[in-house]
Symmetry: C2
Subunit: 480 residues, 2 copies
């Protein structure tokens, strides 16, 4: 290992030594994020924000293809609105930020900074809906939300984060259920196809569902340290909110009805997932689909005749097709640049030096496999496209392998506890359906039921914890 | 006028009768916006938000082409940070919303909801900047801001609005000044090329400049009622903030220096400008560049053989090239639809009925000129493209004519007062440069100096109000 390479690597704590410190090192050293003067609030720096922009662009297109339109609802919600749905206010009131003064004046009613927008949106839907002809309502918003968190970690749990929240109304329960699952599926496809992040999809237990939901569906991803990340949720809200907010319409028979309601959201938390699923001890490793820079060109011995010019030419050729960077900074050596771009997780590096020029070729380096190959100048564009596709696929496959390797089937409590302690990951087990049993497992092991997966397997007939009859298989894990 | 057409038109108060009511009618009836349960906060509905998305897409591309990257900074700013720059806090403190509680706990220090982000961004820039090699810093953010307004109007002045704010740091005053003017020029081009909204560009007087700025530059547009709209501002902030926030770097000679600083922003206010510049008594008239729907297809006698199929075929052909809508709703008559889409300002309507089908043609209707023409089926795509371009140009030209017609040159106070009272608009006049004189004109007429334009004309030697020597020509107007 060259000297400067070693120095770079030493800046990042190995994940086996201290995963939390590894995470902190990586996000700080790669311009993804920084801590702000307000505790729990972070600055998303350009490299991190560009990942979010790529996620947004893909998802926004998918939302529009599925018939949704964007709106923007107010940041501040009157306390009285928040209180209209009982479970909802109980779930969110402890973690909202309250605005009490506007300028020098104390407000007659406190306003909360939105932790989520069901209440304010329902108050508007009640105004807008009158006939079954108006349905479905299919709206989404991209915005910031605030939840006052005691203990925070960048991207994973912060007092403010960016997200999208879809809010829809439907004539029937079945249509609402179909929408709930359709959007969960859009999330799953985003995770797998764009983020190369395999997920388990299923329903949350009542204990873990959204405050005010009839049923919550989730996608759960597994991180390198064996902890699960809830990466996106879709809620069938039934008529809980539409009744509380008196949203009514005249149905096809002329009768007044409450519509059925869904909401669904993913957030900048996804970026934390990308880091912890694909990263390694060299730093980030970004899927080409969301990488702010898909390929970086590094000239070698750039002062020698023609190298910089050739690098610039390749850059101009590739720029219209890929997100490119030409690193022609003079104050850094090629080795230093190699390491920096590896740390920043750029999927592909293109090296070109005097000898390459002579042979009319470049060297291509893959961040995911650390493999090098040469490629003739005339083939660069095509080969870069092929390799980016291959990297995207390989990252998904590697992540699947990692997850499968960390997924265990368990039939007894002792094994469960040993696994959660020694080799944490997903544990598949049968569940009795009892909330007290679920609660005891959490209290004793720190693991929660992540979901009741759609893909069921019959692992046995009884619950490993209480020996009562069990009909459902669930995924357990410790979670972020 | 057909019955249903009359009915539609009657829903909108004529602008000559009551311009404010006309504006309110138009925005409410066209799904641009709605009032929320929180006074001064509005909901931007899908039709309005889609305009904002189109503006964002264009501007974001221009920002990136000029070397800027996006970041995201926290919503909440500690009171102590806001107070670091004296003029700034004086300007903004009276209109900020204060967060005093997180969950059940009272905060040790109040946090304000950002009214603009100079202070929080400068606190981060102080951490990030160390060497001249790091400069320039060229960052932007798209976000929401809150300013507690006593009297509000949708888009024009609301307690919360969406905007972008660019914040840059530079080695020299000259570079900062160049950036300030460069971004003002991007704004001017956005206004003229995308929004078809002609603007006057120039510098603000010291009285009207941004709180904490060395100099503020502005673009000012003229509305149908003769009032001006400040449509975008770009500030050269000098070293005011970089000194207050102790932002320092080592310069090329190894000395510690404070960098020079700019900020610049436009907001959803632009949508108010589009409405008031192009709208008429039929409702909106949207420039194709930002219209959510550029052309709508309305089938006539749709039940007759082949009409719906032909309409659908045209829709499929045009959809990849233009933002299209096919209005095949059965519960509304063609006349009703014509009026609705005219009200919503869709630039082009494509009508197709049985007789058109026979003659293998469609009828094209321009919202800007209210003119109809026929076009053979085989030419539709090309002709739609040509007409959208023609409409975009024509709207800019019409707006220029309107503005020029409402722009007056004035040499004496009496004429000034008569114009401001009877036929308000821009008044070009010489100015002595005295703030007291400026203040008196405002107090007596309600008109302010909108800017000292870059394009100067020597209209005389003295100030019309105080008869003192005057070297600068300024634009006066009443303003939103
Ligand atoms: Zn059990
Ligand atoms: Zn004067």
């Amino acid at each position: 290992m060259a000297k400067n390479q070693k120095q770079f690597v030493e800046e990042i704590t190995p994940m086996e030594v201290d995963f939390a410190q590894w995470y902190t090192d990586v996000i700080k050293k790669t311009d993804l994020v920084d801590y702000s003067p307000v505790k729990g609030f972070m600055v998303i720096k350009h490299y991190g924000y560009a990942i979010w922009e790529n996620i947004q662009a893909y998802m926004d297109r998918r939302f529009k293809e599925t018939g949704h339109k964007n709106m923007y609802f107010p940041l501040l919600i009157p306390e009285s609105l928040l209180q209209k749905e009982a479970e909802h206010v109980e779930g969110f009131a402890p973690e909202v930020a309250w605005v009490t003064h506007g300028g020098d004046e104390e407000l007659a009613e406190r306003l909360c900074v939105r932790p989520t927008s069901e209440t304010i949106i329902c108050s508007m839907y009640a105004k807008w809906l009158s006939s079954y002809r108006d349905l479905p309502f299919l709206y989404n918003q991209w915005c910031n939300v605030v939840r006052w968190e005691k203990s925070t970690r960048p991207f994973l749990r912060t007092s403010e984060f960016l997200w999208q929240e879809g809010h829809t109304l439907h004539e029937t329960y079945d249509e609402a259920q179909e929408e709930t699952l359709k959007m969960l599926n859009v999330y799953r496809e985003t995770a797998e196809n764009l983020l190369a992040m395999p997920v388990v999809v299923g329903r949350k237990t009542d204990r873990e569902k959204f405050a005010g939901a009839y049923a919550t569906y989730t996608m759960e991803a597994l991180m390198h340290d064996g902890k699960a990340l809830q990466a996106g949720t879709s809620h069938n809200l039934g008529q809980h909110f539409t009744k509380a907010f008196e949203i009514e319409y005249q149905d096809r028979e002329g009768k007044q009805q409450h519509p059925y309601h869904t909401s669904w959201g993913v957030s900048t938390r996804l970026i934390g997932g990308i880091i912890m699923v694909h990263g390694d001890n060299r730093g980030l490793s970004l899927p080409p689909g969301i990488a702010p820079i898909q390929a970086v060109i590094v000239p070698i011995a750039a002062h020698k005749g023609g190298v910089n010019e050739a690098a610039a030419k390749i850059f101009e050729e590739l720029k219209p097709a890929f997100r490119m960077e030409l690193d022609d900074r003079e104050q850094y050596s090629p080795g230093w640049k190699f390491n920096e771009w590896e740390m920043k997780g750029v999927p592909l590096r293109i090296e070109i030096g005097p000898r390459d020029l002579e042979q009319e070729q470049v060297v291509l380096f893959r961040r995911d496999t650390l493999e090098k190959e040469t490629c003739s100048l005339s083939q660069v564009k095509q080969r870069v496209g092929e390799l980016l596709e291959a990297i995207q696929k390989n990252l998904l496959e590697k992540a699947r392998e990692m997850r499968d390797q960390k997924t265990h089937v368990v039939h007894d409590e002792e094994t469960f506890k040993r696994i959660m302690k020694e080799t944490p990951g997903f544990v598949k087990a049968m569940w009795c359906g009892d909330e007290d049993c679920e609660e005891r497992v959490k209290a004793e092991t720190g693991a929660t039921i992540r979901c009741i997966p759609f893909e069921q397997e019959k692992l046995g007939d009884t619950c490993p914890f209480c020996a009562k009859p069990a009909e459902q298989m669930v995924y357990y894990a410790k979670a972020y």
